[in-house]
Symmetry: C2
Subunit: 363 residues, 2 copies
């Protein structure tokens, strides 16, 4: 992980002397902690990683997880309570001037606490440097993402066999999540979406007690999380024979995705791609029906940092970025179609990581 | 939800004029947003709830989730971008003096942004008031928790049938998660723990590629999340015949839990219960083998606010609190036993919500 840490420090004009990545509890765990430690298991509530420009890493860890932390083979300091944590922290950064903190990953309360414990130090925000470093995936990260994509491909390919007349949305989600785990993933990457019929028109709808019936769209959007790295795939099926309108929606989305794939290569901005996709859909019969961004960066986070294919993204595509491409068309009260794949930017274009077929499947 | 909001304001000596609950993205979603809106579905990234002492609630919501938010039947303001969000926010709090923010649920970056947008206002921390209000569950919350407990009971009772010689830990976790979802829960309450043999000695170990063999402990710790409310249950089985040491560990933990149950009633502190349990285990053959707190509050969060049965908890038990009681004994290299149930504090004692048998089951 030394190389990752050094790279983070390269992304500063004025380098801080040290960076503290501090976890709070449960839903305030900073994924950067795992990026710099490489720890694949464990929760690490209340723990901290301290990084130095030469790649050195200290980990302050609670006794409960000290055995797990030792697997990272680094400088472990064990604490039993807040006081011990603070003593370790002070020792680690002694002699430093400016200290980097992730202002986006730290609660305001934690910021106040750190300001008190480390009074006299100056703090700088390191969110941008962390986010910029993480945009480019290294070999190990790519191997985890590819495994996650492989699992979600296998699950998606099984869906036509799983789907049955009258099944509930939540039952399909249960089957999907079961396969994700059974195939060796840690867990689903996010709340699995399996929406039937008109529910598919709500992009953030997950799953509920709607029963499947003939003619329904079946929109499945899920991912696998493998060693903390995520995949994210969407396919929209039709249960029974697709109507002309359904076919038209599907083709429009598929062609919009193709359009994006063709444009994607190093140098082009996220905004250029999104705008082209948006324009393509707006010129079709489905003007105004594409209501979200075209894609997002993928990695330790499902929305991994700031890179994306959105109307405000000035980020230029570069080799080793991993992004989703997910145009959609949504008609309230009728239904929606979304097709989503994960791509890796290569030196002269892209590699589409997901291998699941993209044509319309009528079940 | 009006009553909940009014109760929050009752928990201040000096009431703020309004409270802003602000979500950031993905893992920085404040569960208090759902407490005050009652919204059972949806993500609500970047959205905010603004509460007033008379129980009034404004919700600032992105267009993507405006349909879902309308179900909360409140004052919805829709935004398309940051600028619109800020305009709505300023309008909502116009005329207010002190504004409450949850310092523990807000990133430092969001705090900085709010300070800029609402310059001239003073901010006070409302974490304690929110946490104190949420300690006491209302009828609706209890009905959701009881349903979540019912689901995890049903799943736990099926485990002896599911377990097979040579199965992997992650396979058992897949079966558990499948049943949780199939029985109507939204999802598992947290990463399901299914640890075999010596892995059960690590309380934070989840599941991996260890195969089950005769004589192993099988520790299962999981919960169901139903309409955002959680259950949390642990049972430790033995695969095959339990050895005398395993039996002794089990009996010690079971009796430690009984000890806690007997003591629990309104007025006693979390610390008193934890210390009694700790002392009980330290007087047995397993001195020093209990390495975590005895329990935690349960609700919208799996660790729901600050109440708990820990060595530092001065919180007095009161009617309508919901807590877990989970003593354990852990022997590194050998294995661990934990028994965990969810209880409701009543006017004169407790009601044990989980109905799963607690005796040792050899499979």
């Amino acid at each position: 992980m030394k190389i990752r840490i050094k790279k983070i420090f390269e992304n500063f004009k004025e380098k801080p002397d040290a960076i503290i990545i501090k976890n709070t509890s449960e839903n305030l765990i900073d994924s950067n902690f795992f990026y710099v430690t490489g720890l694949e298991k464990g929760l690490f509530e209340g723990c901290a990683a301290i990084l130095f420009p030469d790649g050195k890493l200290d980990i302050i860890v609670s006794r409960l997880e000290s055995e797990t932390a030792k697997r990272a083979n680094e400088n472990i300091k064990i604490f039993e309570n807040h006081e011990e944590f603070n003593i370790h922290l002070k020792n680690c950064v002694q002699g430093c001037g400016a200290i980097g903190l992730n202002f986006n990953g730290l609660s305001y309360r934690d910021y106040q606490d750190l300001s008190t414990v480390l009074s006299g130090y100056s703090f700088v925000d390191v969110y941008d440097a962390l986010s910029k470093t993480r945009m480019f995936k290294d070999e190990l990260e790519l191997s985890f993402i590819k495994k996650a994509v492989d699992i979600s491909d296998k699950v998606m390919n099984k869906i036509p066999e799983i789907i049955k007349d009258g099944m509930f949305e939540y039952e399909l989600a249960a089957e999907i999540n079961y396969l994700i785990k059974k195939l060796g993933a840690d867990k689903p990457a996010f709340d699995t979406i399996s929406s039937f019929g008109k529910n598919s028109a709500e992009p953030h709808y997950t799953n509920g007690e709607t029963k499947l019936k003939k003619g329904d769209f079946v929109l499945c959007d899920f991912g696998a999380c493998f060693k903390r790295y995520n995949s994210d795939i969407t396919r929209t099926f039709v249960f029974g024979c697709a109507s002309n309108k359904q076919k038209k929606m599907f083709e429009t989305v598929l062609n919009a995705q193709k359009k994006a794939f063709e444009m994607m290569k190093p140098g082009i901005t996220g905004k250029q791609i999104h705008n082209a996709v948006d324009e393509f859909i707006n010129k079709s019969d489905f003007k105004g029906c594409f209501i979200h961004s075209t894609g997002h960066s993928l990695g330790l986070g499902v929305h991994d940092g700031s890179a994306g294919l959105s109307p405000i993204s000035d980020v230029k595509l570069e080799k080793n970025m991993v992004l989703t491409v997910e145009p959609g068309v949504y008609i309230p009260g009728f239904g929606g179609v979304r097709i989503e794949d994960d791509i890796l930017v290569t030196s002269d274009g892209i590699e589409i990581l997901s291998k699941t077929p993209r044509h319309l499947i009528e079940i």
